[in-house]
Symmetry: C2
Subunit: 337 residues, 2 copies
Amino acid sequence: MVTVHDVARVAGVSISTVSRALATPEKVAGPTRDRVERAARDLDYRPNRAAAVLRAGRSGAYGLVVPDLANPYFAAVAKGAQARARELGAGLFIVDTDEDPDLEAEAIGALAPQTDGVVLCSPRAADRALGALAGRPVVLVNHAVDGVPAVEADHRGGMRRALEHLRALGHRRVAYVGGPERSWSDHRRRAGLADASAAYDDVEIVEVGSFRPQVEGGQAAADLVIASGATAVITFNDLVAVGLVDRLRARGLDVPRNLSVVGCDDSYVASLVTPPLTTLSVDLHRLGRAAVDHLVATAAGRRGGEGVAPDRPALDVELVVRSSTAPPVPDLTRGAP
Amino acid sequence: MVTVHDVARVAGVSISTVSRALATPEKVAGPTRDRVERAARDLDYRPNRAAAVLRAGRSGAYGLVVPDLANPYFAAVAKGAQARARELGAGLFIVDTDEDPDLEAEAIGALAPQTDGVVLCSPRAADRALGALAGRPVVLVNHAVDGVPAVEADHRGGMRRALEHLRALGHRRVAYVGGPERSWSDHRRRAGLADASAAYDDVEIVEVGSFRPQVEGGQAAADLVIASGATAVITFNDLVAVGLVDRLRARGLDVPRNLSVVGCDDSYVASLVTPPLTTLSVDLHRLGRAAVDHLVATAAGRRGGEGVAPDRPALDVELVVRSSTAPPVPDLTRGAP
DNA sequence: AGCGCAGTTGCAAACGTTCGCAAGCTGGTG
DNA sequence: CACCAGCTTGCGAACGTTTGCAACTGCGCT
């Protein structure tokens, strides 16, 4: 293994100079710097991370905690975060908590001491989580706790767009099929929907319970939606929409003829199923990148001593119109085979 | 920050004893061990990874390199690997290379020195990759290089099962829509298919080019499949199958009435699309776990001095029969609206 | 010519852990 | 009673880097 000592010997300087030449080039005289760089390159010198971390106290690596990597939503965020971390020359520890709050707390506890900061993606137990962090830099994704930096999708704007779209088609009674009770995104969507509908006096929102954010959740919700008398429905995510469509079809209803359906997330199933889903799209890749940027800035600010204002960038949510939404038809056709 | 010294003081022993009590409990007398463990727990002592790594030379962390985390296939493998690593108390660095061989080589070069070993998942440039590893423990997933440990899915067995299924339905001419030229899995599947068909003298295989492993690839392949005169088709993966079905439908053909389709991977789109796809299923979670186990064993063996035989566990590939396969119908009905 | 100052460089002390070595202790044996 | 073996524990030296401090250089100023 080649160490600073080897490089120093070859370059004819002391190890301190080698360290400085590589870490803070501006503090070393030009010719010396060149000699050191040359030697380092020739020897294919790679600084020992562990030693640097031990001495300097910071690792140049960050953590990312996600509930489920197999969920395309989080996979996309993770991918974005990873790409950004790489660009910044930092490492990224990705941990999958299997949607388990206990595992989440444990993961954070393990990550905190050996990273320079952690991104918590849709945390299930943010409060406990923040405790486990012991005051280390942290960025929340799609979750909010007072005074903690975060990045989020603009659910409010997304909901407004979805509702405007449905209203323009002629819908006046719109159902919302909710996700997990504890989901922050779900809360934001409900709130956004309520706000958006308040702007019109001719549109009514019906909230239809909480369901698992899976295909089965949508199947379970379908009958309630039918009974609600709504002519259009917005679902917590695309999978719920898929399940909903499935069950509606089983009951003899056609989408979008009898009911318009809007999904959320624009996961790639949205374009694969029949009919292709109208859905709300967030650039998850960018969300991941933004989270890392925000974290690095927070960590740097913390080191610099100046407290960084915990602002909260929100990423645009776009409406992608496909074939699951259409104008409503008069009630008499509903339920017809 | 609480260190071994603090624990030692509280437990009334020396730091060496603390270190031993926690790392190699069997080398410390019962009561002493208890005192140390108690103290460590009370103080919430967490060993400084960097220091341990620096001194001991091994990090207790491994690397996992995948081409694309957003691909459910790799996401599932990553998830399994992660879960297993956690169980073993090890860390796992997951790196996404965006399908880029250069990035892959770079990632490996960065990972190798700071981990105890690396899992390479479907590497695009395995040969270069192995060079960059500088002789460090490595396990290949779905790739083979002589003398290098690997885990793989039993593509051969899977292909045999798919072919037997189609033959039992009455198909005698089966097309295979291939994936990327450089894909090792694709090679294995072709070979497996050839072997399986050799066992019967009444079944014929038609290989239909190489296509992108995406929906578009399947759409592009559809017309060639129709022209091939096959009554059934096996595709490189489920997405290709989806694209294929899509294009067939556009040309007025019904699946499975006019053509039976078998996908590969059993990604969750397989059950969502219409018709639900008959497909080959690998337990990717287990594949990831197996890879980590194999890597840890290899690394331990290397440390122990005894060379581990580079065996190559193969995971079962099952056929999941859904609704995209059926008996063939006589030629005259083909192309009818 | 003497002095101070800025720009460079080297010395040496950490950082927190692991582990080889040896010392201490206990109990069994000659 | 002396001795040895074996178990347990402590001492202290690494591991490779960063960084505060001090020493040295050469230059411009008084």
